[in-house]
C-alpha cells in the first residue's frame, strides 16, 4: 500500500493483464500521477506468427487458404484482399457475377462478425455484465437475437464458402463452385427476420448511456467504385481528402515497430494516427448507405458523421442492417457465374488489394514471379492501423474521467478498447490493459 504525500500527487496504475471479449491476446497499461496521465499502452503480447515470412516461396494460388488462417473471425477479408492483390499482379480485374458473389460472401462475414461483437462482446459493457452469458440471465431475448443473427451470417458463409471459419470455396479468380439460385433461397426468410430484429436493436442501442468522448479523427476507408457502401474493394480515401488506388498505400502510410507490442503501429506518412472501421466508413460513406439504414441511424440519434467511439455499437448495428439488406438485394439479383472463376496466368509483377474487413481496411501486396512463386508479401491489418487511435482514445478518456474509481476506470478503458472490436490475432500476425497511478 502506498500513502500519498499530497492529494494532487496521488499515483495510480490501472491495468488489465489479459483483455477479455477481444479476439487474441492483449493488455492495457495506464499510468497516472495526480491529474496527469503519464502513459497509456495497449500491449500486444499475442505471439508473432510470421505470415509474411511463410508466404515467400509459396504458390500464388495458395494465398486465400494460407492468409485465411491469420484470423478465425474475418477470414473472408483476408481471402478477398489477398485474391485482389494476386489478380492485380496477374493483370486481371474480377467483375460481374463473380464480384457480386464475393460481395455476398463478404456480407456473411460482416453479419456474423458485427452480430458477435454488438450482442455478445460489446453490449454487456453498456448493460453492466461481465459477459453475454451473464447478460443472458436477465436479457435472454437479446442474447438469443444476437445468436440468431450471427447464425444467418454463418449460414451465408457455409452456403457460399463451405464453412464459417476458413471457408474453402473462394480462390484467386473467383470460386471453385458457384451456388445455384435455388441454393440461396432458404437464406431469404431468415435474412428478412434478422433485418427486422436489427432495426429494433439499433433503436435499443440509441437509448444506451454513452460515455462522453468526442475526438477529431482522421478517418480512412474505401470508396466503392460502383457507388455502393464500401465492402469488397475500392479506392482508399480519408477525411482530409486523400484519394488513392490500393497500390499507392505505402506512399501514404507507414508501419512502425514499438517495443511494447508484437503488432506494428501504423500512421500517416505526413501526419499522425488515423482510424479505420465502422465509424470511418459511416462518416465517409454515409451517402451510400441505403435509405433504411440512414433512417435507422437518424432515429438512434446519429448524424451523418460520428466522432464518439462508444457510439460504434450503434454504427455496427447500422452496418449490420445494411449488410442484411445488401445480402437480400444481391440474392435477388443473383446470376450464377459460369465459369465460377477466371483463370489466372502468373507473370512477373506486383499486385495490391484492399477490402473492408469488419474492423476496417485490410491491405495486401504480393510480388510474384513468372512461375507464380511469391517473392514478397506485405499485409497490414485493421487493428494495427487503429492501435495509435486506441491509445489516444484511452489518453483522452482517462484525462477526462480521473474522478472514476480504479475499478470503473479499468472497465471503461477496456470498453474503450472494445469500441474497436480489436482483432489481436490479426494484428500480430498482433492486445493487454494495465492502468498505473503513481
Amino acid at each position: 500500500m502506498t500513502i500519498p504525500l499530497e492529494p494532487q500527487a496521488r499515483s495510480r496504475r490501472i491495468s488489465t493483464a489479459a483483455l477479455a471479449r477481444v479476439e487474441g491476446e492483449g493488455a492495457m497499461n495506464v499510468r497516472i500521477r495526480g491529474s496527469e496521465v503519464l502513459e497509456v499502452q495497449l500491449r500486444i503480447y499475442e505471439p508473432p506468427r510470421f505470415f509474411e515470412g511463410f508466404l515467400k516461396g509459396r504458390s500464388y494460388t495458395e494465398v486465400p487458404d494460407i492468409t485465411a488462417r491469420i484470423c478465425g473471425i474475418c477470414p473472408v477479408a483476408y481471402q478477398t484482399s489477398g485474391s485482389l492483390a494476386i489478380e492485380q499482379a496477374c493483370g486481371i480485374t474480377v467483375d460481374g457475377p463473380i464480384r457480386e458473389l464475393r460481395r455476398l460472401l463478404y456480407c456473411g462475414e460482416w453479419i456474423e462478425s458485427h452480430a458477435l461483437h454488438l450482442y455478445l462482446l460489446h453490449a454487456p459493457d453498456f448493460l453492466g455484465y461481465e459477459s453475454a452469458i451473464h447478460m443472458a440471465a436477465d436479457h435472454p431475448a437479446l442474447v438469443e437475437r444476437g445468436l440468431a443473427t450471427r447464425k444467418i451470417g454463418n449460414q451465408l458463409l457455409i452456403t457460399l464458402g463451405g464453412r464459417a471459419e476458413h471457408p474453402i470455396n473462394p480462390r484467386t479468380g473467383g470460386f471453385y463452385r458457384a451456388p445455384s439460385r435455388e441454393e440461396l433461397q432458404p437464406l431469404v426468410e431468415p435474412l428478412q427476420r434478422a433485418l427486422e430484429d436489427t432495426l429494433d436493436t439499433i433503436a435499443l442501442t440509441g437509448t444506451l448511456t454513452m460515455p462522453e468522448l468526442e475526438r477529431d479523427y482522421e478517418f480512412v476507408a474505401l470508396m466503392d467504385d460502383d457507388g455502393r457502401y464500401p465492402i469488397d474493394r475500392g479506392r482508399i480515401i480519408s477525411s482530409s481528402g486523400l484519394d488513392i488506388p490500393p497500390e499507392d498505400f505505402e506512399e501514404h502510410f507507414v508501419e512502425e515497430h514499438v517495443a511494447h507490442s508484437n503488432a506494428l503501429h501504423s500512421r500517416l506518412r505526413d501526419g499522425g494516427s488515423y482510424m479505420v472501421g465502422p465509424l470511418a466508413r459511416y462518416s465517409l460513406a454515409f451517402d451510400t448507405l441505403s435509405p433504411m439504414a440512414q433512417e435507422a441511424a437518424g432515429n438512434a440519434g446519429l448524424g451523418p458523421t460520428c466522432n464518439n467511439p462508444f457510439q460504434s455499437i450503434i454504427v455496427r448495428g447500422v452496418e449490420l442492417a445494411y449488410a442484411l439488406e445488401e445480402a437480400l438485394r444481391l440474392i435477388d439479383a443473383y446470376e450464377q457465374p459460369d465459369p465460377p472463376a477466371i483463370a489466372l496466368e502468373p507473370r512477373d509483377g506486383v499486385g495490391s488489394g484492399v477490402s473492408e474487413a469488419p474492423r476496417g481496411i485490410l491491405w495486401h501486396q504480393y510480388k510474384i514471379d513468372a512461375s507464380g512463386t511469391i517473392r514478397n508479401a506485405r499485409i497490414v491489418p485493421p487493428t494495427s492501423q487503429n492501435q495509435r487511435a486506441i491509445e489516444e482514445d484511452l489518453y483522452s478518456f482517462v484525462s477526462e474521467h480521473l474522478d472514476l474509481s480504479d475499478d470503473d476506470l479499468q472497465w471503461q478503458c477496456e470498453q474503450a478498447i472494445r469500441n474497436y472490436d480489436p482483432c489481436i490475432s490479426c494484428a500480430t500476425h498482433f492486445l493487454k490493459l494495465h492502468v498505473e497511478r503513481t
Binding site: A18, R21, E23, R49, F54, D65, G72, L120, S131, L147
Partner: protein, 262 residues
C-alpha cells in the same frame, strides 16, 4: 433431500492461434445456451471478463507453443485441469506456425518486423502434447463444431468421444461424391487426411488440402506417387504437405522426402 447441483467447470485457453477454433464454440448458436445450462464457463476470455478459479473439470486448449512464457503457462493449465482436450491443428500439430520449423526463424522475424530485437519467440512451434499429457486431440483447421460439442459432452459424461480416425475418402464415399482425383485428375489429400470435415472440399469441386492433418495410418508415400502421375513435382509435393499440419509426423516425413533444398 435437496442437493445443490454443482455444474462442471469448463475453461477455454488460447495459445498461438487465430481464435477460429474457440470461436466455433460461440458458433454453436442453437446449443450454446443449453451448454451454459450444463456447465459453468469458468474461464473463456474471448467471451467473458469474469474468471472463476480452478481446478477445472474440462480445459479446451487452442493454439500451439511458440514462446518461453507459453511453454511454462501450459504446465500451469495442465495442473488445474482434470481433463485437457486440444482443439484444432495448432494445438494438435503445431499449426501453420510450424512452417518456421523448416526455416530459420530469424529470417521470418526479419521479414515481418523492422526491429527484430523487440520480438521474442521460440525456434519451433510445437503441439501441446510435446509439453504436457493430453486426454484427447480434436483435429481440424478449424475444428468441426459438432465434433467439438460431442467432445465436450463425452468429457462431461466420462466416456470417450465418438470421433472416427478414418480418412476424408470414407466421408467422400458416404456423401456419394465422384472422386476428384480419379475422375478429374485433381490433386487431393483425401486418402491420407483425417476425417471430420465431411469431405467438404471434394463436395466443392476441389481437392482436399489436408487441414485435418494425417489420419490414423496414412500411406502418404503411395499417395505422392499418384499425385506425381497427375502432374505434381517435388516443389508442389513439399507445399501440399506443409500447410496447417506441417509438423504432424506423417506429413513432415513425406514433405522431407521431396525437399531437396537442404
Amino acid at each position: 433431500m435437496t442437493e445443490v447441483a454443482v455444474k462442471p467447470k469448463l475453461a477455454v485457453w488460447k495459445f498461438s492461434s487465430c481464435d477460429g477454433c474457440q470461436l466455433s464454440l460461440l458458433s454453436c448458436e442453437d446449443e450454446l445456451l443449453d451448454l451454459v445450462g450444463q456447465v459453468e464457463i469458468s474461464y473463456f476470455l474471448e467471451a467473458s471478463r469474469a474468471e472463476v478459479e480452478g481446478p477445472y473439470d474440462l480445459s479446451l486448449v487452442e493454439g500451439s507453443i511458440t514462446t518461453e512464457q507459453d511453454a511454462e503457462r501450459i504446465h500451469r493449465v495442465r495442473r488445474v485441469s482434470r481433463r485437457l482436450v486440444t482443439i484444432g491443428a495448432c494445438a494438435t500439430s503445431g499449426g501453420i506456425q510450424a512452417l518456421r520449423n523448416f526455416a530459420d526463424v530469424e529470417d521470418f522475424v526479419a521479414a515481418v518486423y523492422p526491429s527484430p530485437e523487440y520480438v521474442s519467440t521460440l525456434e519451433h512451434s510445437t503441439p501441446i502434447s510435446a509439453h504436457v499429457p493430453v486426454d484427447f486431440e480434436l483435429r481440424g483447421c478449424p475444428v468441426n463444431k459438432y465434433q467439438l460439442l460431442e467432445v465436450v459432452r463425452a468429457a462431461l459424461g466420462d466416456r470417450s468421444p465418438p470421433i472416427p480416425a478414418s480418412s476424408v475418402c470414407q466421408e467422400c464415399k458416404l456423401r456419394g461424391n465422384v472422386c476428384v482425383l480419379v475422375a478429374h485428375g485433381t490433386p487431393c489429400l483425401g486418402p491420407v487426411t483425417h476425417a471430420g470435415c465431411g469431405a467438404l472440399c471434394p463436395s466443392f469441386n476441389r481437392g482436399c488440402y489436408g487441414c485435418y492433418g494425417p489420419m490414423e495410418s496414412p500411406n502418404a508415400r503411395s499417395l505422392s506417387t499418384w499425385l506425381q502421375k497427375v502432374g505434381m513435382d517435388d516443389v508442389d509435393l513439399v507445399r501440399v504437405y506443409r500447410t496447417f499440419n506441417a509438423a504432424a509426423p506423417a506429413f513432415q516425413r513425406e514433405s522431407e522426402r521431396h525437399d531437396h533444398s537442404a
